[in-house]
């Protein structure tokens, strides 16, 4: 007669509990970081709050780009188009149709997501650099279109969100309010990235990144998955753009559709470590903080120094900081020069 072996209960429970703790740890750390950011607000002057709010803005943007560019491997060079579409929709809605900011904010995200779906379906058939250029073309094209719709958007002269007087539908949030708004958006973005990273959708994206045909053979609907990721990243970027438009009050097409913003997003993700959740966060904080610091203290040379630092960072850590740390911890190989040797010709 087979006897039932007694599994030592204590061992199982402790292993299960340790796994649960390990899985919850990132969320706990995230919560702590959020609380710290809230506490930080009390320590900052008004102008500094604005600077830190910009850091949060880039965290949100970088994490959103990471969804399509890092996880799925479809590097969108035109990501700023969602930023601009969201921003302009909010500006137009608030000044022409007298919507309140919060309604415009939500609608901007939705419109940006719909736009992403619309262009995603034809464009996501392209691969690699061709996809990048096509999205860049869309972004530049949208900028020109917005510049030409002068009746609606004011064209090159810009459009102003009413913040004072009778036309203002929502009171201006001020540096304090925008700090919290951008912090909220950054938290939302990191949260979504974290959820995506750990569930089936995220694994589908990673599969598409590694080998799209094999993923399709496994039964993943690649078109739907890619478009969904694109729409999701467009949604978040649209929300950020809307908040930015309200913060700036007067917006111009060259700034809201500026390719520099996309390039900055990409640099932050890649230097931090693309395809991870922590990478874009660290990359955004580090790069934005560095560029602010350099600009304030080296008024004449700051772009030059920033360029040099980017070059050095890229040479020493081509796979991004977070990925480097993970690989190094696993292989116990910490030498940076060995890292360079691995990737050079």
């Amino acid at each position: 007669m087979p006897t039932r072996t007694q599994v030592p209960q204590k061992g199982v429970t402790s292993t299960v509990r340790r796994d649960q703790a390990r899985r919850l740890r990132p969320w706990a750390l995230g919560l702590v970081a959020l609380l710290a950011a809230l506490g930080l607000q009390g320590q900052l002057y008004s102008g500094q709050e604005r600077t830190v709010a910009t850091i949060f803005m880039f965290v949100a943007l970088a994490e959103a780009w990471n969804l399509i560019g890092g996880f799925a491997g479809y590097a969108s060079f035109g990501q700023v188009v969602f930023f601009g579409v969201g921003g302009y929709f909010t500006a137009v809605a608030m000044s022409h149709w007298h919507f309140s900011f919060w309604v415009s904010l939500l609608l901007s995200g939705v419109i940006a997501a719909l736009f992403a779906t619309l262009i995603g379906i034809p464009l996501l058939r392209l691969k690699g650099h061709y996809f990048a250029i096509a999205t860049l073309g869309v972004a530049e094209g949208m900028r020109e279109v917005v510049t030409n719709m002068t009746d609606l958007t004011g064209g090159g002269a810009g459009i102003t969100v009413p913040t004072v007087g009778n036309n203002a539908t929502t009171a201006y949030l001020g540096n304090d309010g925008f700090y919290l708004l951008f912090l909220g958006l950054a938290a939302l973005s990191v949260l979504i990235a974290g959820l995506v990273a750990r569930n089936k959708f995220g694994y589908a994206l990673r599969a598409i990144n590694q080998d799209e045909d094999a993923a399709a053979a496994l039964g993943i609907n690649t078109t739907r998955t890619k478009v969904l990721a694109f729409a999701l990243s467009g949604f978040i970027t649209g929300l950020v753009g809307a908040s930015y438009a309200f913060q700036q009050v007067t917006i111009f097409p060259e700034r809201l559709f500026d390719v520099d913003i996309t390039v900055l997003m990409i640099i932050m993700v890649v230097i931090g470590g693309s395809g991870t959740v922590l990478g874009p966060l660290l990359g955004a904080v580090a790069l934005q903080f560095l560029s602010e610091f350099l600009r304030q203290n080296f008024t004449n040379l700051h772009t030059f120094i920033l360029g040099a630092i980017i070059i050095v960072a890229v040479i020493l850590l081509p796979q991004g900081a977070v990925n480097y740390v993970r690989e190094a911890r696993r292989t116990k190989e910490y030498s940076l020069l060995a890292n360079v040797r691995k990737y050079r010709l």
Partner: protein
């Protein structure tokens, strides 16, 4: 384990921030800009990016102002001479950075601000100035739209945008013989240029010219051939360009290539700059331009003297002839200094009231602000390039030479 220590370190840093956040950050820095015997003024400039060239000229203007004021001992505030200290930050030619810099100056307690270059940057800054209760003197943002928003804390020493081409039209109406009949405007599509075009077209209609439909092209383009080809068939007598340097040079160059020959050309912004005549050589001959200031401008003040003195000083310090961008920057700095002296204080409210009531002559011309904050009391000068040199031809009181008409042979 490493990750555990890392996590612990993170938690400790975070909790200390949270705890510290419960306390206050202490008093914001005092609002007095006078500390340790200097008057601190904030200036955000475009030292890199698209507007680097003009930003550099603006900086030169501010630097000369600081030198001149401090050479006389400093700003006379309530009997005490305080040295001027202008602090520069780079806004990388982006409006959002320019606005952020105003906030950062505000943090440091610097309430008196000199504007960045260009209407877009200035507009962004004006909004923040208004919110923070600072005071800004605008040296280079001419677009009338900035002043139609009810802002009370921004004052522009330069003539508004609508005057840029209106002055050229008025000069032609007054001095050109035989008087031309038709005018066409070629304009860049940015906000400032469009305002310039609207103002110019209205003046042209008032003066009795036939105004042909304006042609627009993208800002910063060096190829205006399609606009020129379209107007060639209409045979306009005068072509006026509401442009910046790049498009301005392109219009003259390509008009020659395409054999578009009106009786004369007039352009905004580009002709008074030294780059224009140097680049075009003989093609620039007899092109009209408008300028906020020339070395024939009438008026003197106690720090800069006359326009001729200013020219000598700029030439000596920076080894080039002064551009009107230098002069408008120095003029803005001068206005702020004179207002502080008049108020006898560097407190923003007192300085603001003093600026509102300022009415003085200077090397830059008359400095007086209307109720919106614009300087409508200073006329713009119209210049013409004769023998490769920029000479003032209008208004006739300060004209150095007669206007040559027709400009093209």
């Amino acid at each position: 384990m490493r990750s555990r220590t890392l996590a612990a370190a993170a938690v400790i840093t975070a909790s200390s921030l949270v705890v510290a956040g419960c306390g206050s950050k202490g008093e914001a820095k005092s609002t007095s800009a006078v500390s340790s015997g200097t008057l601190a003024i904030g200036a955000s400039l475009s030292l890199t990016g698209q507007l680097a060239r003009e930003g550099q000229l603006t900086k030169e203007g501010y630097q000369l102002c600081q030198e001149k004021v401090n050479a006389k001992g400093g700003v006379d505030i309530g009997g005490k001479k305080t040295k001027l200290d202008i602090q520069y930050q780079d806004d990388t030619s982006k409006p959002d950075v320019a606005a952020q810099l105003v906030d950062q100056f505000n943090d440091k307690g610097i309430k008196l601000i000199l504007s960045s270059y260009g209407s877009a940057n200035t507009e962004a800054q004006a909004a923040v100035i208004e919110r923070n209760g600072q005071v800004m003197v605008d040296s280079a943002g001419a677009d009338n739209k900035i002043f139609s928003k009810g802002y009370k804390s921004t004052f522009a020493v330069l003539s508004p945008a609508t005057e840029y081409s209106s002055s050229i039209v008025k000069a032609i109406a007054e001095l050109a013989t035989p008087k031309p009949k038709s005018v066409v405007f070629l304009s860049a599509d940015d906000g400032f240029s469009k305002t310039v075009t609207e103002g110019g077209m209205k003046t042209a209609q008032d003066q009795g010219f036939t105004v042909l439909g304006p042609q627009y092209f993208p800002n910063g383009t060096s190829d205006v051939s399609s606009a020129l080809t379209k107007v060639k068939g209409e045979h306009p007598d005068v072509i006026i360009g509401s442009v910046h340097l790049v498009e301005g040079v392109a219009i003259i160059k390509q008009a020659k290539e395409l054999a578009v020959t009106p009786a004369g050309f007039g352009e905004t912004v580009a002709p008074p700059t030294p780059d224009f005549a140097k680049t075009l050589g003989t093609a620039a001959e007899n092109v009209l331009g408008s300028s906020q200031w020339t070395d024939a401008t009438k008026g003197t003040d106690k720090y800069f003297g006359s326009a001729k003195d200013y020219t000598k000083d700029i030439q000596a310090k920076f080894a080039h002839a002064p551009d009107y961008h230098n002069a408008e920057a120095s003029g803005a700095c001068l206005a702020l200094v004179l207002a502080a002296e008049k108020a006898g204080s560097s407190q923003p409210d007192a300085v603001r009231a003093a600026l509102r009531g300022l009415d003085t002559e200077s090397f830059f011309g008359k400095i007086k602000f209307d109720s919106t904050g614009q300087n409508i009391y200073k006329p713009m000068s119209v210049i013409q390039i004769q023998n490769g040199k920029v000479v003032t031809v209008w208004p006739t009181e300060s004209a150095e030479a007669k206007m040559v008409w027709p400009g093209t042979k």
